[in-house]
C-alpha cells in the first residue's frame, strides 16, 4: 500500500545495514544458573543459556537479524533523542552512558522489515538501555511504529523488555502509557493485528500499556512478566513469592499469554501469524 506520508519514518531512506549479528557479545555469566557461557556458544544458541535454557536479554539489532529477511530492515526515527523534561540532574549523563554502551539512542529500535517476504512494522526494546524504561522517546517511537502499521496496513510486532516507566522523566513517562495504548486503539479501528512478544523482563508501565494489548501475546520461556516488582509485592505481603510467579508459563496459565515460544521457533511462529493475518487470507466468505 502506498503512502503519501513520509514523516521521517524512513520510506525515502536507504535500507540500513544491520551490524554484524552478535558481534558485541562477550562471555557471560548466566544470571539463572551462574555458569559462564562463552560468547561463541551464545551466538550459536541465540543467547539462550545452553545449561539451563534461560533466554537472556538481546540487543535489538541482534534480535532483528534473527527475525527479519536479510537486507529487508529499514530503521525509523533513529535520531530521536530524549530531552530532560523535569530537568533532573544527572539524567543527561546517564543517557550518554547508555548510548555509549549500547550504540543506540534510546531503549527501542523501530522499523520496517519482512519475514518470509511479508512486510511488518517492528519495535524491539532493549533492556540494556536504562533497564528498557519507557520515557518520551520510547513512547514516541512505539506510537509512530503503531501508526505506521495502521497507515500502511502492515501488522505490528513489538518485542518488549522493560523495567517500566522511566522515572527520570517524571509524569511524562507515565503519560507514555496512555499515548502508546491510544495508538493501539487505532489498530483496532484499522483492523491491523498487533503481535506482542514478551521477553525477560517486562514489568511496570510497559506491562500496564501496549505490552498487554496484543491480538496475540507470545512470551519467551521463563520471562518475568508482571506489573509490580517482586520485591514490592514481597514487601506488601511480608512473605516470599511462590516459585515461577510472574513467569511466562504462569502468565499462560493465568490466561494473559497465548503461547510460550522458545527463541529458536520465534521467527517461524511470527511468520505463521503474518501468513494467517495477511490480506489475501482474510475474508473467508469470498471463497
Amino acid at each position: 500500500m502506498g503512502s503519501e506520508f513520509t514523516l521521517g519514518l524512513g520510506r525515502k531512506k536507504k535500507k540500513s545495514a544491520l551490524p554484524e549479528p552478535f558481534a558485541r557479545l562477550q562471555d557471560t555469566v548466566c544470571r539463572e544458573c551462574q555458569n559462564l557461557i562463552p560468547a561463541a556458544q551464545l551466538a550459536k544458541s541465540l543467547q539462550v543459556c545452553p545449561e539451563c535454557g534461560f533466554h537472556m536479554p538481546m540487543h535489538p539489532y541482534d534480535r532483528i537479524s534473527t527475525l527479519v529477511d536479510e537486507g529487508s530492515f529499514e530503521e525509523f526515527s533513529q535520531d530521536l533523542t530524549s530531552g530532560n523534561p523535569i530537568s533532573l540532574t544527572g539524567y543527561k549523563e546517564k543517557l550518554d552512558q547508555a548510548r555509549g554502551k549500547s550504540g543506540i539512542n534510546d531503549a527501542v529500535v523501530t522499523g520496517r522489515g519482512s519475514i518470509d517476504g511479508r512486510e511488518a512494522i517492528f519495535g524491539i526494546m532493549s533492556f540494556q538501555f536504562l533497564g528498557g524504561s519507557m520515557g518520551s522517546v520510547v513512547g514516541e517511537k512505539i506510537t509512530r511504529a503503531i501508526l505506521a502499521g495502521a497507515e500502511e496496513g502492515s501488522p505490528v510486532i513489538l518485542v518488549t523488555a522493560s523495567g517500566g516507566a522511566r522515572m527520570q522523566e517524571g509524569i511524562f513517562s507515565l503519560m507514555q502509557m496512555a499515548k502508546t495504548s491510544s495508538a493501539a486503539a487505532l489498530l483496532d479501528e484499522a483492523g491491523i493485528p498487533l503481535f506482542i512478544v514478551l521477553t525477560h523482563p517486562t514489568t511496570g508501565g510497559v506491562t500496564a500499556s501496549f505490552a498487554m494489548l496484543g491480538d496475540v501475546a507470545i512470551a519467551e520461556p521463563g520471562a518475568l512478566i508482571g506489573f509490580a516488582g517482586q520485591r514490592v509485592i514481597e514487601g506488601t505481603l511480608k512473605q516470599k513469592l511462590p516459585a515461577g510467579f510472574q513467569r511466562a508459563e504462569f502468565q499462560q496459565d493465568q490466561g494473559f499469554v497465548d503461547m510460550v515460544v522458545p527463541r529458536e521457533n520465534l521467527r517461524h511462529t511470527l511468520s505463521f501469524l503474518l501468513q494467517t493475518h495477511a490480506t489475501e487470507n482474510k475474508g473467508w466468505m469470498n471463497r
Binding site: 516507566a165 503519560m175 495504548s181 486503539a185 509485592i233 506488601t236
Partner: protein, 322 residues
C-alpha cells in the same frame, strides 16, 4: 531537630496507637501537615493530598449530585470497594461517576484497601464507562490512589492487562470524559481511570509516575529522602499544569480541601457543567480526535529530522469514519 527524628517519632506514635487500637489518623495528619509546611511547598502539598480527612470520591459525588446510585461489580470476578462508580444527576444531566475510594479512618481504609484497587476495580470502571457510552452519558472520574494494589492476587488476575485495556478503551470512548485528580495520583493505578478529554488537578493534589518514597528509594537510594524526591519529580498541580499535561487547577479552600469540602465541590460542579455544555457540540469522532491528539502530543524529545513532526493527520484519517 533532625528531620528523620521527627518523622521517626511520628511513625512511633502511629505504631503505638495501632497497638493500643486507638485511631489517631486525623491528629497525625495535623502533625504531618504542620511539619510539612515548615519544609516547603511541595512536601506540604504531598501531606495535604494524603490527609485522611481530605474529601474523597463519595464525598464529592454526594456534594455534586442531586441524586446518585452506586453500581457494583465487574461482572467477571467481584466488586472492588477501592473503586466505586454509579450514575448521578448534575444540574439535570445524567452523568456516570467513577473513582478510587479511600476511607476517613482506619476501619474505612481497611475496608477500602486504602484506595489501592485490584484488577476487578479497573474492570468495573471499564464496564461503567462502556455502559455510559451505550447510553450516551458523559463520564467523570475522580483519581485518588497511591497506585494499583501491588499484591499476589492482583498479579494473578492481571492488573497490568486491566489498566492497559482501560487506557486503550478510554482513549476511544465515544462520550466526553472529565478527570479530576482529587488527592494522590500515583502511577498506572491513577492513569487507569485518567484518560479523558479534560484533565484537572485540585490545588493541593499531586500526580506522579511513582510515589516520592519509591523515587527516593530507587533513584536516590534512600527512602528517607522522599521530600527531596517530591521536589525533584515536580508532582504538584502547578508543576503538572506547567508541563501542559493537565488543563487547569481547581482551587481549594484556604488551608486545604478538608477545611471546606463544599467549596471545592462547587468548583468541580461548575467545571463539569461548563465543560459538558462545551463538549456537547463535538460529535464522537471529533471528541476522540481531540482527545487522541492531546495524548499524542505529550513527550519531550529532540529530533533532527524536520519531516517527522506530526502524525495528527493519521489520527484524523483513521477516525474520519467515526
Amino acid at each position: 531537630m533532625d528531620e528523620s527524628v521527627i518523622s521517626n517519632t511520628i511513625e512511633e506514635i502511629k505504631l503505638l496507637a495501632e497497638k493500643e487500637n486507638i485511631d489517631i489518623s486525623r491528629e497525625l495528619d495535623d502533625l504531618k501537615t504542620k511539619y510539612a509546611s515548615s519544609k516547603g511547598d511541595t512536601w506540604e502539598k504531598v501531606q495535604l493530598a494524603r490527609r485522611i480527612d481530605r474529601p474523597n470520591t463519595l464525598d464529592y459525588i454526594n456534594l455534586i449530585c442531586d441524586d446518585f446510585i452506586e453500581l457494583h461489580g465487574d461482572r467477571h470476578y467481584g466488586d472492588d470497594p477501592a473503586m466505586i462508580g454509579g450514575i448521578g444527576t448534575v444540574d439535570g444531566m445524567s452523568v456516570t461517576f467513577i473513582g478510587h475510594q479511600r476511607g476517613h479512618n482506619l476501619k474505612e481504609n481497611i475496608a477500602r484497601n486504602y484506595g489501592w484497587a485490584y484488577p476487578e476495580g479497573y474492570r468495573k470502571a471499564l464496564r461503567l464507562a462502556k455502559q455510559a457510552e451505550k447510553f450516551n452519558r458523559p463520564v467523570v472520574t475522580f483519581i485518588d490512589t497511591a497506585g494499583a494494589y501491588p499484591g499476589l492476587e492482583s498479579e494473578e488476575r492481571g492488573i497490568g492487562e486491566a489498566i492497559a485495556v482501560n487506557l486503550k478503551a478510554f482513549s476511544v470512548l465515544r462520550v466526553p470524559i472529565l478527570c479530576f485528580v482529587i488527592g494522590e495520583g500515583g502511577s498506572g493505578g491513577a492513569l487507569g481511570i485518567g484518560v479523558g478529554d479534560k484533565i484537572y488537578m485540585l490545588e493541593n493534589s499531586i500526580y506522579s509516575v511513582i510515589s516520592p518514597e519509591g523515587f527516593a528509594s530507587i533513584l536516590l537510594r534512600d527512602p528517607q529522602r522522599a521530600q527531596e524526591a517530591a521536589d525533584l519529580m515536580k508532582v504538584t498541580a502547578q508543576d503538572v499544569k506547567e508541563f501542559g499535561i493537565i488543563h487547569d487547577i481547581i482551587p481549594e479552600a484556604p488551608g486545604g480541601a478538608h477545611t471546606d469540602p463544599s467549596f471545592t465541590a462547587t468548583k468541580i460542579k461548575e467545571r463539569i457543567i461548563t465543560d459538558l455544555k462545551r463538549l456537547a457540540s463535538r460529535n464522537p469522532g471529533q471528541l476522540i480526535r481531540y482527545r487522541s491528539k492531546k495524548i499524542r502530543e505529550i513527550g519531550h524529545f529532540n529530533e533532527n529530522n524536520e519531516q517527522a513532526q506530526d502524525l495528527f493527520k493519521i489520527f484524523t484519517k483513521a477516525f474520519s469514519r467515526s
